[in-house]
């Protein structure tokens, strides 16, 4: 299994509070991704990173920010959590190398509940 951990694994928080989720990898992969998974929507990309301090928005980035100060860590922050951000969050990593360009490997997920 790819060395990807996410913390916390479960979190319950209240509307309006800040929340930070952490993704940590030991594979030295260049690319890291944050997705959310909701019933009926599959996986939707929130933000991704293509290198240290290099990030870009995905399709559902509103209300989220990210930071990557080290290759191994990618943080996802909800500045002021809302109930619509209740979801399961997955981190993924990849490296655009032969032979399987951008095969993404997923972390175990974080279940976030915003009350």
């Amino acid at each position: 299994d790819a060395g990807i951990t996410q913390s916390p694994r479960h979190k319950v928080t209240e509307t309006g509070t800040p929340v930070t989720l952490r993704c940590h990898q030991t594979e030295n992969h260049r690319y890291m991704y944050w997705y959310r998974q909701d019933p009926g929507h599959g996986l939707r990309l929130i933000h991704y990173s293509y290198g240290v301090k290099d990030t870009d928005k995905g399709e559902v980035s509103d209300g989220y920010s990210v930071s990557r100060s080290k290759t191994e860590d990618f943080l996802l922050t909800l500045e002021s959590a809302t109930s619509s951000q209740t979801s399961v969050y997955f981190c993924a990593i990849s490296d655009l190398t032969v032979p399987s360009y951008n095969e993404q490997f997923f972390g175990p997920g974080t279940r976030l509940t915003v009350l």
């Binding site: 690319y31 991704y33 997705y35 009926g40 929507h41 599959g42 996986l43 939707r44 990309l45 991704y48 293509y50 995905g58 399709e59 997955f90 993924a92 990849s94 655009l96 032979p99 399987s100 360009y101 951008n102 095969e103 993404q104 490997f105 997923f106 972390g107 175990p108 997920g109």
Partner: protein, 113 residues
């Protein structure tokens, strides 16, 4: 904007039967990825299809890619209960930019005796 559609969304099938899951996508791409997710678990990479006509097989699952038709199929042969899971296909949004993937909504497969 790339759209990735899977059908069926839900499939209930009897053990021993064969069936095919379809993944259609709306823009040009020469690669496609299949993932499996067990309930409450993470996603596991199943197949990476990197060219037109690519075919990969693992046990009772076989995936193929037709880039001209913008279609991939995941064929299940003689289904067993252990194949019960949700299957996702994923496609890069542009053929020249593969650093992101757009996922289909998934096909939930349930295999019963």
């Amino acid at each position: 904007e790339l759209k990735v559609e899977q059908n069926p969304l839900f499939l209930s099938m009897q053990e021993g039967k064969n069936y095919t899951i379809y993944c259609n996508y709306s823009t040009t791409s020469d690669r496609l990825y299949w993932y499996r997710q067990d309930p409450g678990k993470s996603l596991e990479s199943l197949f990476v299809l990197l060219s037109n006509g690519a075919v990969k097989q693992e046990g009772r699952l076989m995936a193929s890619l037709d880039t001209k038709a913008r279609l991939s199929t995941l064929h299940i042969t003689a289904a067993v209960h252990d194949l019960s899971a949700t299957y996702f296909c994923a496609v890069p949004p542009r053929s020249y930019n593969t650093d992101k993937l757009i996922f289909g909504t998934g096909t939930r497969l349930q295999v019963f005796p």
